[in-house]
Structures are given as C-alpha cells and as structure tokens.
C-alpha cells in the first residue's frame, strides 16, 4: 500500500511547477519525502508462492520445495549434519507424537508417514540442528553454525533440478516459472 502512495506522490510531483515544488518542499518532511522516492523506485515485491526458494536466515536456511522433493531433501540432511540419530516430533489436530530413530532409518520413516511432511507440523532434530516444516514443502532449518549453509543450499537446488554455486554468506535463490533468480 505504501508503495502505491509513493508512486502516486512521485507522479504528482512531476506535474508541479518549480514554484509549486518550492512551496511543497516547505510543507513536507524532506527526509520522509526522499524515503518515499526511493521506495517508489524499488521494484514491487512479487506476490505468490515460488516453485523453489532457498535463502539464508540469521539462524540457517529458509526453504520452499516442491512437496515431492521433501523426502530426498530430508534424507540428505543426516549425512551433511553428521547426525547419527534423529528425533521426530509431529503435531496434528489430534495432538502430537514423538519418534527417535537411527539416521539411516529416516527415509523409511518418511515413506511410512507421508502426511507428516505433506501437510502436518513436523520438527526433526539432527543433533543440535533443527528443521521444521508446516507441510507443502515449506521448511526452515536452524543450524548451529553457518559454514555449511552454501553446501546445503546448492544440494537443495540440485535435488530440485537446478545448479548454482553460491559465493556470498547471505543469499537467496528463487525459481519462478522454471527460471532461477539468485540474489547474493
């Protein structure tokens, strides 16, 4: 909404005479005006849900994956996170359940409990690292260190059929209509 106001204000100002602009400058807060001009120059944020999203967060990574790719992604994590066992917590409208299993059994657990990762509230602890999912491929991975974020992000893209090598510490990769956009 504020972007629309900024755009309208910029268009209005373009139509003023120099005298009118001077009068306008006496009436407004110049700092706020500059902020609005910058806001109007920014491209509008796209609305909707991308096919794939991988982005850094202060705690680790935020991810949106095609839901059918979720088991492959989750099964990849114990290896990279050096977790021997995983603790699983699932919550639905009827309450919650907990499991603990060796990391190599995670893939078969996911196969046996598809509703947990397709549409439920799921939390998996890989040692000190914690993943949550609200279903539908919406995931967040909280890591205790950021050194492996790039590796996990690159492998996540590969699981989804895309290739990119990240160079920065903070980045995001978004796929809209099969086109990969990267911000670093």
């Amino acid at each position: 909404m504020s972007s629309a106001i900024a755009v309208a204000l910029t268009e209005l100002l373009d139509r003023l005479t120099i005298e009118e602009k001077r009068e306008f400058a006496r009436l407004i807060d110049w700092g706020e005006f500059q902020r609005l001009r910058l806001e109007a120059a920014e491209p509008a944020r796209r609305v909707g849900d991308p096919k794939v999203y991988v982005g850094t967060t202060p705690d680790g990574l935020s991810l949106e994956l095609p839901v059918e790719k979720v088991p492959a992604f989750l099964s990849y994590l114990p290896g990279i996170l050096a977790a021997n066992t995983v603790a699983i917590f699932v919550q639905d409208g009827d309450g919650s359940q907990e499991w603990q299993c060796p990391a190599e059994e995670l893939a078969s657990w996911l196969e046996a409990h598809p509703t947990a990762w397709r549409d439920g509230s799921l939390m998996i602890e890989f040692g000190p690292h914690t993943l949550i999912s609200g279903g539908g491929g919406c995931l967040s991975l909280a890591l205790t260190g950021n050194s492996i974020r790039r590796t996990i992000a690159e492998q996540t893209l590969a699981i989804c059929g895309f290739r990119h090598t990240f160079v920065g510490e903070h980045f995001s990769a978004i796929v809209w209509e099969d086109r990969l956009e990267v911000h670093e």
Binding site: R45, R46, V47, G48, D49, P50, Y53, G55, T57, P58, D59, S62, A87, F89, Q91, D92, G93, G95, S96, E98, D119, S121, M123, T130, I132, G134, G135, G136, C138, S140, A142, S172, I174, H183
Partner: protein, 78 residues
C-alpha cells in the same frame, strides 16, 4: 524444553522469516504453513502443558522478537 514448546517457537520464527523474503507469500501459504501449526502448538500447550511451558513459549517468542528488532536496527543503519 519440551518439543511442542520448541516447535511452537520455531513456527513463530518461520512466520518472521516469511515476512523478510523478497516476495510476498500467498495468504493461504501463511495460514496453512505457519498460522495453523502455531495454533496447534498453542492449543497443545494450553491443553496439556504446564505454566512453565507457557512461560518458555512466551520467552522464546520474545527472544525471536529481540533478534528481529536488532536485525531491523542493523538494516536501517546501513
């Protein structure tokens, strides 16, 4: 910390993460993937949790809020 408390706090963090993305997620996505899991977490804490669980959940939310505020300040300064 109990797992349902940790999970509830994590879904609050997930909601914050979505507010900081380069795109605006659909209302349906916010509802199904973050708000409903948060509601499930709150409901279980109220139904079966202790006062300490409730305190830990609120405290966890406050910690996430502090992280958000410090990040906002860092962004606004440069």
């Amino acid at each position: 910390m109990k797992k349902n408390v940790k999970s509830t706090i994590s879904f609050f963090r997930l909601l914050i993460e979505h507010s900081q993305k380069e795109y605006e997620p659909s209302p349906e996505h916010i509802l199904k993937r973050m708000l409903l899991p948060l509601c499930r977490g709150f409901s279980e804490i109220v139904a079966t949790g202790t006062k300490n669980d409730a305190w830990e959940a609120v405290d966890g939310f406050a910690q996430e809020c502090r992280k958000l505020q410090s990040e906002e300040m860092r962004c606004s300064h440069g």
